[in-house]
Amino acid sequence: MTDTTEAAASSHGTGPFIAAIDQGTTSSRCIVFDRDGRIVAVDQKEHEQIFPKPGWVEHDAAEIWTNVQEVVAGALDKAGITTADVKALGITNQRETTVLWDKATGEPVHNAIVWQDTRTDGLCKELGRNVGQDRFRRETGLPLASYFAGPKIRWMLDNVEGLRERAEAGEILFGTMDSWVIWNLTGGAQGGVHVTDVTNASRTLLMNLRTLDWDDKILSSMEIPAAVLPEIRSSAEVYGTAKGALEGVPVASALGDQQAALFGQTCFSKGEAKSTYGTGTFLLLNTGDEPVNSYNGLLTTVGYRIGDQKPVYALEGSIAVTGSLVQWMRDQMGLIKSAAEIETLAMSVEDNGGAYFVPAFSGLFAPYWRSDARGVIAGLTRYVTKAHIARAVLEATAWQTREIVDAMNKDSGVELTSLKVDGGMTSNNLLMQTIADALDAPVVRPMVAETTCLGAAYAAGLAVGFWQDTDELRANWRRAAEWTPRMDAADRDREYKNWLKAVERTMGWIEEEH
């Protein structure tokens, strides 16, 4: 990405600029944006993935903080600017990853437990008591699942020697990665501010979606002392000013990564949705200023909140296997040499030849939530070639998107008028066309691919008046491409029906273990 700097910087003015930190699952990045929302410079550094046991995933929070400082310095250096040119700093982060640290020394008491980590599966079942995984859904919008931060805090309190006593004595602080980065940026043990934003707090299983405050009943059910929790603030306001290398720069936004992408895609109106196509896929729909309960397997979450304005809620649906299915075709099957070649192979035939591929590699997620399902390729005949399978691979992503959009429609009553897309798979023209065909709605790609960082930059810029309002941000949004549906309605209905039939065949494969 270093080349971005050289090429882009030449065509930019002298600023001022907004910097955004993306503290992600595999790396930390810093991007500097100009007033038009164009990228001026990027710096990025990966951190270690720690796997102590099967199913466990940890990060060293101290390493992450070091990397964040390095990429911020690196991005400013590449842009050839100083802290005086940076009007505000925004933060977006991997969601749900949990760290606890000593308030006096700033030392983490345990490695951060990453969102993918499944060590709290058993604990979540236990916490469900006789109600099950929907015990806290009404308050939090979430099922009791190992992704979310609350059970991870509880695990550390139970498993790190003496931690509970220290936590109850007020010596320990909890944070998702936004809190950890902000506390350190604003001085750490020397007066760092201990805050989180509503979007990150909405992924803890501890925040009440309506009051936007920690829920005392849930805290006592989970046995988590309120003393460890950060103050919940909006997504766009000045939390404090940076100390050290960034001395004086306002730290002015925090958003979970998927919410930041929603913001960066300028989905500011009810009914607007974005879908990020990467290894997996995350689709968020803006549902306006009321949280919508889901009865179709979606999550209810906070989309964003700008300062003291009303919060904006979202429905979220995720697809576990999208880009990773293409990788599987490349690495496990050896049918293609690069991910991009899936399109070449798929383009060599007119249709799927009757084959349907449901990649339920670790069960079916939204809207089914069936852990007993496993992957299926259905409809095979002698006629089917690897090219038809390649088509079926791309169609799998399209139909799974359709299933989530249908579930969102049922829950919210909002009909999707168009889908804004981002992520690596948007370079696949055939896939984007197939999604437009499956949805019977236009699919639109924006000109800035880095919507996550852009969202954090936008929120920070709003907080300091760099941009006036969301209308100004909308005006920055540029359409790079749009795919319009071309599929005949009868064909679409028949294909969707076939897909649903294939989905049925994945269920019940894993038999109950005794």
Partner: protein, 255 residues
């Protein structure tokens, strides 16, 4: 073997010697096995090394076959890979130029559009991926014909239709345009394909300097041109983009 060139024969012999399985050989071994003077063998090895056909181990000084040889047999660049690599740069080109961006490759007798970025205004535009453009008069086509010998012969052999009064169809005129294109590294189309429309394009090369495609912008003459020529700022933006994509292809193409 009448007319064979001795140094090429010797280079081939060295490659065969190194190709015998997992092996690294020192200069002395190579020279004595092939009956060459050490200085001669060293000169040939150094040339092969510059071309990437041979690599020298820095610790032992021994020689082995280079990665470039593997690439020779595996050199086809997937057009969808090209699009994926070009995505960021072409978005930025559309932003900085304010015009629509096209990425084209040679396909049969014309230019196949493999990527298209909309002009960054709010107007309704239709995605033109998969469309064909003529070789002899568009900026993309001229770039391909100037740099890719296959495209060149296709353009010469094909019918060069006169789309507008400004279309050049005579061979000497066309060749002169290609000479100019090669000399300055970019091509223009000033209302030679569509009335009122100008375009400018530059070549994309892979790491071996092979032309793999062309990238360019297209827009209304009034916006694109000044005093009858494409604005220098736009030419520079197109060439920057082409260089960035080329650099990207050189970096990790065979990973």
């Amino acid at each position: 073997m009448a007319g064979s060139i001795q140094s090429v024969e010797r280079a081939a012999a060295i490659l065969r010697l190194l190709a015998g399985g997992e092996r690294r050989l020192g200069l002395t071994d190579i020279a004595s096995t092939l009956g060459l003077a050490k200085g001669t063998a060293h000169g040939i090895l150094r040339t092969l090394q510059q071309e990437g056909f041979v690599e020298q181990d820095t610790a032992s000084g021994r020689y082995q076959l280079g990665a470039e040889l593997l690439r020779l047999g595996n050199s086809y660049l997937d057009v969808h890979e090209l699009r994926a690599r070009a995505l960021v740069w072409t978005d930025d080109l559309a932003r900085s130029s304010g015009e629509s961006v096209y990425l084209g490759v040679l396909h049969q007798q014309g230019v196949l559009i493999v990527h298209h970025v909309f002009r960054p205004d709010d107007s309704r535009q239709v995605l033109e991926i998969g469309a064909m453009q003529p070789l002899h008069c568009t900026a993309l086509g001229k770039v391909l014909a100037a740099y890719d010998p296959v495209a060149h012969s296709e353009a010469l052999e094909g019918a060069r239709e006169e789309f507008t009064p400004r279309t050049l169809t005579a061979v000497p005129d066309f060749e002169a345009v290609l000479d100019l294109t090669r000399a300055r590294g970019w091509a223009v189309d000033l209302e030679e394909t569509w009335d009122g429309v100008a375009s400018v394009a530059a070549p994309i090369h892979d790491r071996r300097r092979m032309p793999v495609g062309a990238v360019g912008i297209t827009g209304a003459v009034e916006r694109m041109c000044e005093n009858g020529e494409v604005r220098a700022r736009l030419v520079a933006a197109v060439r920057d983009c082409a260089r960035s994509v080329s650099r990207d292809l050189g970096g990790g193409r065979f990973q």
